[in-house]
Symmetry: C4
Subunit: 207 residues, 4 copies
Amino acid sequence: MQNETARIEAFSDGIFTIAATLLVLNLQAPTLNSGKLSSSLLSQWPHYFAFAVSFVFIGIMWMNHHRLFSLIRKSENTLVILNLLLLLGVTFVPFPTAVLANYLGKPEQRTAAALFNGTFFAIAILFNLLWRYSATHQLHDLDRNEAAAHISAQYAVGPALYLICFVLTWVSVAASLVMNILLAFYFAIPPYHASRLTHGRRRLPNE
Amino acid sequence: MQNETARIEAFSDGIFTIAATLLVLNLQAPTLNSGKLSSSLLSQWPHYFAFAVSFVFIGIMWMNHHRLFSLIRKSENTLVILNLLLLLGVTFVPFPTAVLANYLGKPEQRTAAALFNGTFFAIAILFNLLWRYSATHQLHDLDRNEAAAHISAQYAVGPALYLICFVLTWVSVAASLVMNILLAFYFAIPPYHASRLTHGRRRLPNE
Amino acid sequence: MQNETARIEAFSDGIFTIAATLLVLNLQAPTLNSGKLSSSLLSQWPHYFAFAVSFVFIGIMWMNHHRLFSLIRKSENTLVILNLLLLLGVTFVPFPTAVLANYLGKPEQRTAAALFNGTFFAIAILFNLLWRYSATHQLHDLDRNEAAAHISAQYAVGPALYLICFVLTWVSVAASLVMNILLAFYFAIPPYHASRLTHGRRRLPNE
Amino acid sequence: MQNETARIEAFSDGIFTIAATLLVLNLQAPTLNSGKLSSSLLSQWPHYFAFAVSFVFIGIMWMNHHRLFSLIRKSENTLVILNLLLLLGVTFVPFPTAVLANYLGKPEQRTAAALFNGTFFAIAILFNLLWRYSATHQLHDLDRNEAAAHISAQYAVGPALYLICFVLTWVSVAASLVMNILLAFYFAIPPYHASRLTHGRRRLPNE
């Protein structure tokens, strides 16, 4: 049974890996007309920031994808399509990253940050669609219901939090980016601890 | 026996994955001389459209390749060469995608759409060549003749439909692109349902 | 034992796959100032030619690498280093391909073709080094001596033939490219048949 | 147990492979206004040098990563994060490589070399963090303590040596690059021999 999802995982891993590595193509050696190379390199700081943030994001998305598919046992056509849409979102990431890198600290930075935060909002929805579909269509490993409940609890708050982050862009670009980074860390935490954080002492459905 | 085709599948998966991810390199952060970033981003819509369409196409081609090789058990030199030609077509996809993205909605869009539709026509032929060769050279898993018959039925109409789509470009660019997208969905449907769609109640050879 | 070389093969497969796919980045959508897109696309023929030739070359090199490692059973440090040098050559291929695509049919085409043919000459030597090292250091699967002898016979003539092809560049660029393509086909043929072709009826060492 | 780290290794292998192959994108076909293509190609020597050095570096880092994970048996969240940070460093390599290639032999070469050497200093620290964490958190294969001790001995001197190399940039750019290359060879040597080289006849902790 486990083999059924093996090739989906391999394909997805490939997409995550390549999208993460392509981010470096946004970093270009500066062409120097005058002045010092060091100051020219330093002035590219939004590029390094965007590169590092997006790389870690893709890495954390990969961890989450891995967690989901360690519980998903069966595969079928709709799951493959939903996964493909999620991967479309992941592959898109280098583009808003490049836009953010080019406009951060400049007059049009709000639009760039909105595109960036909006992308992660969309990806959060796609992650939820994939997870809920697999949950409601009995594609899960039934021996691990508790682990699944913790993921469900962690994911339930995802789209709402990313929506707040997206809206926050119009209040403060800096605050929205900080919140985006904090959200990434929240999804890096194993679901068991994460669901405690947001749901407090409340008992989870499957406990 | 199954291992015989494992390394071909791994190589092919790699090509599909990378070709799909490289599509994002066609999306460039706009350089802004004046005006708003948001309108500049929106004016790039043909790039997003072409990116999404080609990504989903490559994903569906990957699904199809996966289906074929779940039935192909034996490998030999000609099969490897035919597969290599198919992958050459897949690797080529980012180029017509870029051309379409650059010329859609502009005077020369017909040529761009013809290149785009023509590429998928050529790939449909290459898919058929690969499948027919494996069918006529006894490379199949004989226990799964019925599944193979459904694929044969689905594929038999492929090149003809893509040829119509290609010719349609000179009638209406928009209609040809819509047809191209519909064809992608047709090949996303599992062969069992797809062959019913096009062949109606007719009994398939192996039924 | 077989697992010893599995990760080297996976790493090598990755390099072959990515190098092959990156070739498409040499194909750029033409920017049109005036004239027709179709003629602009057609005038890029050296790019399509170079793309197709190099893609098939990398595919055939992958087939050969696969053949070698189906016989190599043990791994050690020097083998890893030699393999790394071979992969350095493979990764380099998109560069001479781009140079050839840019200068074919132009005054400086001889230099471009020499770089192209020279790259394959160097790769032929690296393939031989890898194979001979594994042969003389008892890293082979001893049950398959005959298959190894056929590869040795096919490879023995490789560097000499590629050297002729390289030198031929100064006689005729077209002839050298034709010879380069014919050599690729020669190495696509399974070693058993290939060694018959060049060594005629002579008995091979291990026969 | 061994499977626990299998997907981390696959993801890491992907990053190493793609980062190594993307290096070739720094090699561009020269655009020729006048003069000979051959001299134009030769004048790009810093690009070939930087390409070859960084490719071999990434290959050797891959070998080292492989060695570590052949001893690491268990996985957990912090290990995944530390590995992700290391891979962030690996993915970054094409950027300092491009900067070095563009400025080597020019007035601002010191800054470029400092960025290049500094990157490898940072990666040496990240390699040590990963290794020490796995050592102190009982994630090792306990049957292979001796092999682990040799790696620990080889790695213990890494950051210090790379710091010297980094500082050396301000004394002599050429000397610092030579030292950087020598250090790569030192980490290519199997840990058993390497630890003898730097630690002489001293007994290792676990001997």
